[in-house]
């Protein structure tokens, strides 16, 4: 369940779950007070106060739950939980407009730590699942001593597309590569 919620499509669902109630309530209030009954309401002051506290409580609880539940998908947590003895380090060097990778072929179940650096301008190393969805992106800022790093475990065989998602010049769209993942 949480795997879906913290995917890109899960982000869309959560976004809609927050937006749709807002839209319904906002338009209902505006419609009522602009067209149906546009006179001053005699709602008691306590009613406004209790509504305000309820509303803020809902917002605070939602935000706490969303962020707390996301912790296990954060890179520090993923890295800490990976069995480091089994992690393959892959060095990536990004230059306009290509990726040099120390290894491009893996097997299902392999846990890989991608360590990426840029040699010239801003780039990114974005890995796409064979079904077309974006698995993750890493921003690569030139001049940094520390490489951007992310741990990922391959769970399906296929051809994974690699793209640069930070605009890097007139052939930005051509900066791509592939990674192949074979059956175990």
């Amino acid at each position: 369940m949480t795997d879906f919620i913290y995917s890109s499509w899960g982000a869309l669902v959560i976004t809609l779950l927050m937006q749709i109630p807002f839209l319904i309530i906002f338009f209902s209030v505006v419609n009522k007070k602009a067209f149906v009954d546009n006179v001053a309401a005699d709602t008691p002051a306590e009613k406004y106060t209790s509504t305000r506290y309820l509303w803020i409580a809902v917002v605070l609880i939602s935000f706490f739950v969303i962020n707390f539940a996301s912790v296990k998908y954060m890179p520090t947590f993923v890295e800490a939980n990976a069995e480091l003895s089994n992690v393959k380090d892959v060095d990536i060097s990004a230059t306009s407009w290509k990726f040099d990778m120390s290894e491009r072929s893996f097997k299902v179940g392999d846990t890989v730590r991608f360590l990426a650096k840029s040699e010239d301008t801003m780039h990114s190393f974005a890995l796409y699942h064979p079904d077309g969805g974006l698995l993750f992106t890493m921003m690569l800022m030139p001049g940094l001593e520390t490489a951007s790093a992310l741990v990922h475990t391959f769970d399906k065989p296929g051809v994974y597309m690699v793209r640069c998602l930070e605009y890097c010049g007139v052939n930005h769209h051509g900066m791509r590569s592939v990674i192949t993942v074979a059956e175990k």
């Binding site: 937006q19 890179p75 077309g132 921003m139 790093a149 930005h172």
Partner: protein, 499 residues
């Protein structure tokens, strides 16, 4: 006749929207009207360029045109359109509420620097300087080294950017601060008295202070680079400034807070205008205290939430800063939640007069909140790794600019009779609002769905399903342009006020 009025009189097509007689109110009307008119010229350019991008993809016209137009579109939309319109309306509001002149050297400089700067940047882009409106430093320099564009294009482009930055960071904020705290009051110009404790005024002052304070480090970093490009100072003097990590962080502290400042300003503008449109004539918000609290929360939390632009650098961006950015981004939404409550409680308590001005303002506010949700979602570290760099982020930037602009366009409807002694064409304005909202919803959700599908932003190769999203952007973009046309028509076909 003042310089500003003369320029309006002589402007083809757009000038007719702001024709005004010489009057005692010219000191608060003329320059804001000229700025608003000029911003609409840039909007027209930005809109056509925006629509050209799906067309370039669908008809496979080439990446050169795509990157040129995306750079021009973003720059025109963000700075000489949205920002200049904000300058126009805030100067007018400050003048009329405080009884201060909205003209003089700082206003003229703001206008000249913004528009000449935008023109220079346009020239540079047409010379090949395709860096997008976020500059992507050190790309401008790398582009010269790799033969993507010339050194001349770089120098002209950076000069244009410097002009625009000077107007946004120095001349405009200083003028608003001078009007708020120092300049002489003219009773005959004060049409709707407001104190500086009023939420509408506090929002404006917070906004310009954010621009000034977060912008000065950028000016201090960019100025030596420009001076070196002019050959005035040696390369070793700017070694610190051209380090990507230095420039990018200073740039994003400003760029992020530029958007936040514009957002705080429009929240203040909604607080200022909504009470004037209540049915019971009370001219009051539900609670000034809660409104001010919301503004302070927005201000304090937004400043350091900029770290969310760098989450995906992990571990080069330490996790502490990432989590701080995550929490602060969500905390901005507490300010947003209090704002939603204040707006709805005001409408509920006092009723609403259904004018085009208030509907355009509230429509913009709804867009701002819808967009805010997408902004906090992508500010969660876990989601950010799956959405950053996609059109989800690009759609967020576009949506917040449209939302902000729509609120200022609603404010212009409200101020228009005062500015021109004419009243807008009501039926065209109502039609405009419907198309505006329809096109926004279409564009907004297309961007979100395409972003969730992994479609990259600023990428000239739309493939497979991405072309379908692109076609939808083209359709809704066309409707949005039609709504702009209706907006212009509602001003061009205005009627003289009958006294």
């Amino acid at each position: 006749m003042s310089v500003a009025n003369t320029l309006i009189q002589k402007a083809p097509f757009f000038g007719r929207m702001f024709q005004m007689e010489e009057s005692d109110l010219n000191p608060i009307n003329s320059w804001p009207a000229l700025m608003a008119m000029t911003s609409f010229v840039w909007l027209t350019i930005a809109a056509v360029l925006g629509l050209s991008m799906p067309a370039i993809q669908l008809f496979d016209l080439g990446s050169h045109w795509y990157y040129q137009n995306i750079t021009l579109h973003g720059a025109a939309m963000a700075f000489p359109f949205a920002f200049q319109l904000m300058v126009a309306m805030s100067l007018h509001r400050a003048g009329a509420c405080l009884g201060k002149r909205a003209d003089g050297i700082l206003v003229a400089l703001t206008y000249i620097l913004m528009n000449v700067g935008a023109l220079l940047l346009t020239v540079a882009v047409l010379m090949g300087f395709h860096v997008t409106y976020t500059v992507m430093f050190p790309l401008p320099v790398v582009g010269v080294m790799t033969g993507q564009w010339s050194m001349s294009a770089l120098v002209i482009g950076f000069t244009g950017i410097a002009f625009v930055l000077l107007s946004m960071i120095l001349t405009y904020p200083i003028k608003i601060l001078r009007m708020s705290f120092f300049e002489k009051k003219h009773d005959e110009l004060q049409l709707a008295e407001r104190s500086l404790k009023d939420p509408g005024m506090i929002g404006m002052i917070m906004g310009v202070l954010v621009l000034l304070i977060t912008g000065l480090p950028l000016l201090a970093t960019a100025s030596p680079i420009l001076l070196h490009l002019y050959g005035i100072i040696p390369a070793e003097w700017i070694a610190w400034a051209v380090k990507p990590v230095v420039f990018e962080f200073i740039f994003y502290i400003f760029a992020h807070n530029l958007m936040e400042a514009m957002a705080i300003m429009i929240v203040g503008a909604v607080y200022a205008t909504l009470p004037l449109c209540t049915a019971d004539g009370s001219r009051r918000l539900y609670s000034d205290k809660i409104a001010n609290l919301a503004l302070w929360i927005l201000l304090v939390t937004s400043i350091t939430s900029f770290f969310h632009h760098f989450f995906t650098m992990y571990p080069a961006l330490p996790s502490t800063f990432a989590y701080h950015g995550n929490i602060m981004s969500f905390a901005t939404a507490i300010g947003g939640a209090l704002t939603i409550f204040t707006i709805l409680a005001t409408i509920w308590k006092h009723g609403l007069v259904a004018t085009p001005a208030v509907f355009l303002i509230l429509g913009g506010f709804v867009m701002y909140i819808l967009d805010g949700v997408t902004a906090i979602v992508i500010s969660n570290v876990a989601w950010n790794f799956k959405l950053h760099g996609t059109v989800w982020a690009g759609g967020h930037a576009m949506s917040v600019l449209i939302a902000i602009s729509m609120i200022w366009m609603g404010m212009l409807y409200y101020h228009y009779p005062l500015m021109t002694n004419r009243t807008i064409n009501d039926s065209t304005a109502r039609k405009c609002i419907k198309y505006f909202f329809l096109s926004f919803i279409g564009l907004f959700y297309t961007f979100l769905v395409a972003g969730a599908a992994g479609m990259p932003r600023r990428n000239a190769a739309w493939e497979g399903d991405w072309l379908i999203y692109g076609a939808m952007l083209g359709v809704f973009g066309t409707i949005l342009i039609y709504s702009f046309f209706l907006y212009f028509s509602s001003l061009r076909n205005s009627k003289a006020l009958d006294f």
